[in-house]
């Protein structure tokens, strides 16, 4: 009975109800998007960092991995020290550099990684085999396209360019052993990977025995944070970052988006609340005579409250359902905009749908709708019956 009366009240003004549902849907979509934005970045980065199976990253002290061109000297000694730490099951050294491929139309530059095949976590092999032997290199699709080569071809790469003499230094002809996809590079960024020793040798004295980063795989039974803190305390030249601390630093840099998400999500909730309150209040105001008659013939206050609250709830539920669909569409649109950030790894999503936070956000909007209906419901239940009937009869 309550449901029928609430439905009749909403259907009496179809255009208004449709607009109210649309308004709540836009608010719900915004709330959902902002929840996806605030939780998505963290989860996306966590997934990216954990994808290679390494829990600790060791780099030059004071710098984020590959945030500049800083490297650590004495690489071999550092690797021995790290391998000796209990609980570390794999040590994967990485040296970063810019390589130049002299081409007829000008040199093509690429970001290059010197790694040890078999223990690296930076790329996924897509064709051919890893660059295991000295003189081999693997390239990603943008680099292969830029130098117009295929797997099996040879390519001359150089580590340096002397602008004074306009000559390349550290040049070497390498065989393309495979085609790979780099986990941490942007979709259009050119990349190459070659054996660590080869890249160090090509770099000459400047890169001899130097490393940009060492990734560590830790025994599942070991305490990752204890190992990280131990390295940080014992080795003054390097900083150790666990996935948790790396996430903290990444979050610090992206805190703007998290805070923007909080502010816009809160505003959307307030807008949804105001919309439902306004609609239900006006609806009650229009029906004061009807409500007074119901009260006069013995309908209880509780019944009146339930009917009015139900109206607000129906508006919120319908709006939230529409908002879920709308939110997913707008999230994809907004994500496509942020995905164009220069240098952003291809696999990072700013908006990530996770059912529990998304449902919690929409549930919060529904609760807001319930609260919004409560105010006019109380007003309807406490109407002075006789005075209202007299006023309405005169009108």
């Amino acid at each position: 009975m309550i449901g029928v009366l609430a439905a009749a009240s909403l259907l009496r003004h179809r255009a208004r109800t449709a607009l109210a549902v649309a308004g709540v849907a836009v608010s719900a979509a915004m709330v959902l998007d902002m929840v996806m934005l605030s939780t998505g970045m963290r989860e996306s980065f966590r997934s990216l960092l954990e994808r290679g199976g390494f829990q600790v990253r060791v780099g030059p002290r004071g710098a984020m991995p590959f945030d500049g061109e800083a490297t650590v000297g004495g690489g071999a000694g550092l690797l021995d020290t790290l391998r000796a730490i209990r609980g570390i099951t794999m040590v994967a050294p990485v040296l970063g550099a810019t390589l130049h491929a002299p081409q007829p139309g000008g040199a093509v530059a690429a970001f290059a990684l010197g790694v040890i095949a078999g223990s690296q976590g930076d790329y996924v092999l897509q064709e051919g085999h890893e660059a295991v032997a000295d003189g081999e290199v693997v390239l990603n699709d943008p680099m292969l396209a830029a130098v117009r080569r295929r797997v099996g071809d040879t390519l001359t790469l150089a580590t340096g360019y002397d602008p004074q003499l306009r000559t390349f230094s550290g040049g070497r002809t390498l065989r393309i052993a495979g085609r790979v996809r780099f986990r941490y590079l942007a979709a259009d960024q050119r990349g190459a990977a070659l054996p660590l020793a080869t890249l160090q040798a090509m770099g000459g004295d400047a890169r001899r025995d130097r490393l940009s980063l060492v990734m560590l795989r830790v025994d599942p039974a070991a305490d990752v944070e204890a190992i990280r803190a131990g390295i940080d305390a014992a080795l003054p030249r390097v900083s150790a970052l666990s996935t948790a601390t790396a996430l903290q630093q990444a979050e610090q840099r992206l805190s703007y988006f998290r805070q923007l998400a909080f502010i816009l999500g809160s505003i959307s909730l307030v807008v949804g609340f105001l919309l439902v309150t306004t609609i239900v209040t006006v609806s009650v105001h229009e029906r004061v005579g009807e409500i007074a008659v119901m009260r006069a013939i013995g309908v209880s206050r509780r019944h009146v409250v339930q009917q009015v609250v139900l109206e607000g709830l129906v508006l919120s539920l319908a709006g939230s359902a529409g908002g879920l669909a709308l939110g997913l569409v707008t999230a994809r649109w907004l994500d496509s905009i942020l995905a164009t950030f220069p240098g952003l790894p291809e696999s990072v999503d700013f908006f990530l749908f996770q059912s529990i936070p998304a449902l919690a956000a929409l549930g919060m909007l529904v609760l807001t709708g319930l609260a919004a209906g409560a105010i006019p419901a109380w007003r309807a239940a406490t109407l002075p019956v006789a005075a209202t009937l007299r006023r309405e009869a005169v009108a």
Partner: protein, 297 residues
Amino acid sequence: MPRSPIRSLSFRARSVALPALSHALLAVLPARAQVAPPAAPPPARHATIALDARLATDAGIRLGDLVVVAAAPGIPGDTLRVAAFVRRGADPSEVARAEYRVRMHLADLQRVLGYGDRVDRFAIATRDSAATTRAIAGINAAAFGFRAHRSRDIAIETSRTFAVISRFHKAIGVITIGASAIFLLCIMLMKVEERRRDVAALRLVGLSAASVVRAVVIEAALVSVIGSGAGVVLGAVASRLVNAWYQQLYRTPLTFSLVTPGIVGFAVALSVVLGLAAGVLAARRLVRTPPLALLGR
């Protein structure tokens, strides 16, 4: 008790890495917390350094203090006297970066880094745009191993990140405008429907449908203008709060939210247009209904 010129700083025994004028990293150690001695005994007059004001605050460094600057932690460096503190500029690219920056005399930095007589870039001031064009052409034609770029082109290249953020903000703005339009239409519809009986009475005494539409539209315009005024005040207050919050959070003078006459004009115009459109729609719906039906008969 007189303060020692070389301050003992116990807050952090470890060094702080600093991206300097070049892309190299420097380590600044409070003089007594250093882990390695300076390469040579400090001269009577120390060279000077300007420190990031945030570093000075965090490390408790004061003007006149001596600091040891090295190219990497644990290696000998130079002892310099802190001559100035600098606030970082309003550069969006630095906002979310926690690293400190220092300013050194070029020769001092070249010596500390072992950079020789090298520089990363020159900045050249010109009289006007035509002179800039001539200078760029001249340098690129004659110089060996250099490439000159117009500052504007570099700014465009380095501001790609902010172009993305700007597009993101615009997209959020489009969604917000959609929500506002629906809200406004809803409110206008309800306001007009509240007046059903009044409109019916006016129509029955001979007022034309056009007059009713005009009255409703004028009312909608007034509501929009008043609402816009309140919105401008609310927006200005919110903008100040946003700036105050983010500026203290990131310790930057950067303006995050800017309310300009153009933005106010756009917001008011949009709101009035939306209000008028909502008023026209609602009024047309009302005048199409027969007056007696509006009275419920």
